[in-house]
């Protein structure tokens, strides 16, 4: 789905959204009131500039509209790959963005991320995976690395990785795998507005800021060790 169609499907009651380069900023109307909309499009590689623009949008929302929900539209191919970006500590700007999402949570702003096309590694870590709830559109790609590249880097035969991917959610790309592992809450089918309103209602009714992903991964069978290991650390003498 192209971005204009996606926005109309998500926000049929209206939206005022600007796309500058690959960065999305604006507001929209939902059945549950106004929301801030921030994100990226066309597989943006997250740079200092994009991270800081998104961070500024979050900080402005916290300052001006207490409690307003944040909707993150995620379409990122990862982090910007350049020496100049690394020279100025790109991890620091992505970390700053992540801290802004976390501050919003602590200040009572519900947050939802929706992977519209693709979500990769650092680009996804910096804001999409920081949201209270993460969702993905049908056909959205979520990955660290595609299996062919992974085969090259790990020097494990592609056929071997592909065979393993068939019955394990651990390595293979795919939003459904991230769902089984607890990081993505659901895959959204059109009409997207219905899913968005249900998600906003669900967050409003839920309590606490705990990270629920380990428990979800265990319950859905995709990530069976993490929850037990973390619990064992808490209980260790």
């Amino acid at each position: 789905m192209k971005l204009p169609q996606l926005l109309d499907s998500l926000f049929p009651d209206g939206h005022a959204i600007t796309v500058s380069g690959q960065t999305i900023t604006g507001t929209a109307t939902t059945a549950r009131g106004a929301v801030a909309v921030l994100g990226t499009t066309e597989g943006a590689a997250i740079s200092h500039d994009i991270a800081l623009t998104l961070a500024e949008g979050i900080l402005d929302t916290i300052a001006q509209y207490p409690g307003r929900p944040l909707i993150f539209l995620v379409d990122t191919s990862g982090q910007a790959l350049s020496r100049q970006q690394e020279l100025l500590c790109l991890n620091g700007s992505l970390g700053h963005l992540a801290q802004c999402v976390d501050l919003a949570r602590r200040q009572g702003h519900p947050s939802i991320s929706l992977v519209t096309e693709q979500a990769v590694s650092g680009g996804y870590l910096s804001f999409g995976l920081m949201a209270d709830r993460s969702y993905a559109c049908t056909d959205a790609q979520v990955r660290v690395m595609d299996l062919k590249a992974m085969a090259r880097v790990t020097k494990i035969a592609y056929e071997r990785l592909a065979a393993l991917a068939a019955d394990s959610a651990i390595i293979a790309p795919g939003a459904d795998n991230y769902c089984r592992m607890g990081a993505i809450d659901a895959i959204w089918e059109p009409p997207l507005a219905v899913s968005l309103e249900a998600a906003l209602a669900e967050i409003a009714a839920s309590k606490g800021m705990q990270d629920r992903r380990m428990a979800a991964g265990l319950a859905r069978g995709g990530r069976q060790l993490a929850a037990g290991v973390a619990a064992a650390v808490l209980a260790a003498s």
Binding site: L81, E86, N91, A98, L103, V153, A169, G217, L225, V233
Partner: protein, 304 residues
């Protein structure tokens, strides 16, 4: 032949060359270390076993409690010699568990001895999600006013998702040998080409990602010598002066302004030496040769 020659200079043990266990033992008060889930409490990674890869009972990270200067600390130390310190499912869950434990125990600090290339590709999805959980757990600890310090001085540096984790900590301490960056030079060279980043040019790699550069730019709060004793002193200094207040709207606004300003100011730079000249250092070519104390002095004398 193993005995030291009489009168021979015995250097302090290198933090860079030490194992995770040696680092923890040397960092903490003698005899105070207590490891949680020590080998062989946990099974090694079934995801590595499924690929016929050797596993480790600690999955490449040791966690536990101890004292540093008689103050209670929780510690996670990544072992760069196992899978490059990369984060897999068990590895990540151990660090998350430790940070959650801090909420109940309220230690003086949680110390993360980071030595990692980032996500373990052999368990890619589990590793990425674990890094995200570590990020959330670091910020939850900081929101509870617990200092979380990242110590970077191992052979694998701090890259990928672990570099983002470091940037969320209350403070980062690096040695000159430490490296901190999101994408490793090899990744940038592979994707963007040799002209963009020559990963074999070690001096260049250090001028872009190394401890001196990160310290001069303020991304590392302190620069310490390559020894556990120096990192120990750095932690003590930090705990004495550290403001444990969590982020606020005002503090993140200030960070935002600073990051924007330096992005604009140094946007044309592609080498640390260009940035250092821009900072007002008159002989940037000498920076790589400076001793630690001289570099600290140099930074203190820079225009604000």
């Amino acid at each position: 032949m193993n005995a030291a020659l009489p009168g021979a200079f015995t250097p302090a043990p290198s933090f860079f060359e030490a194992t995770a266990r040696q680092r923890v033992q040397q960092l903490l008060d003698a005899g105070s270390w207590r490891e949680f889930l020590p080998p062989p409490t946990l099974a090694s990674s079934p995801h590595l076993a499924a690929l016929d890869m050797p596993g480790a009972f600690d999955d490449g990270v040791i966690i536990g409690a101890g004292l540093l200067g008689a103050k209670a600390v929780l510690v996670a130390a990544q072992e760069g010699r196992f899978m490059g310190g990369a984060v897999g499912e068990i590895h990540g869950a151990k660090i998350v568990g430790l940070l959650r434990r801090a909420l109940a125990e309220k230690p003086a600090a949680v110390l993360l001895l980071v030595d990692s290339g980032g996500v373990r590709l052999h368990e890619a999805n589990a590793g990425l999600i674990a890094v995200s959980e570590i990020m959330r757990a670091v910020l939850a600890a900081r929101a509870a006013r617990i200092a979380v310090l990242a110590l970077i001085g191992g052979s694998c540096g701090a890259f990928g998702g672990m570099a983002i984790v470091c940037s969320l900590c209350s403070a980062v301490l690096m040695s000159e040998e430490g490296r901190l960056g999101l994408s490793g030079p090899e990744v940038i060279e592979t994707v963007m080409g040799f002209e963009e980043f020559d990963a074999r040019d070690r001096a260049l790699v250090w001028r872009v990602t190394g401890g001196k550069h990160r310290y001069l730019m303020g991304d590392s709060a302190d620069l310490v010598e390559d020894s556990s004793a120096a990192f120990r002193q750095g932690v003590l200094d930090c705990l004495g002066s550290q403001d444990t207040a969590p982020a606020t709207l005002a503090s993140l606004r200030a960070t935002q302004k600073g990051l924007r300003a330096r992005m604009t100011r140094f946007s044309s730079c592609r080498d640390g030496s260009e940035v250092w000249a821009g900072l007002g250092i008159s002989a940037p070519q000498d920076v790589p040769l400076l001793e630690r104390d001289a570099l600290i002095g140099l930074k203190k004398g820079l225009p604000a």
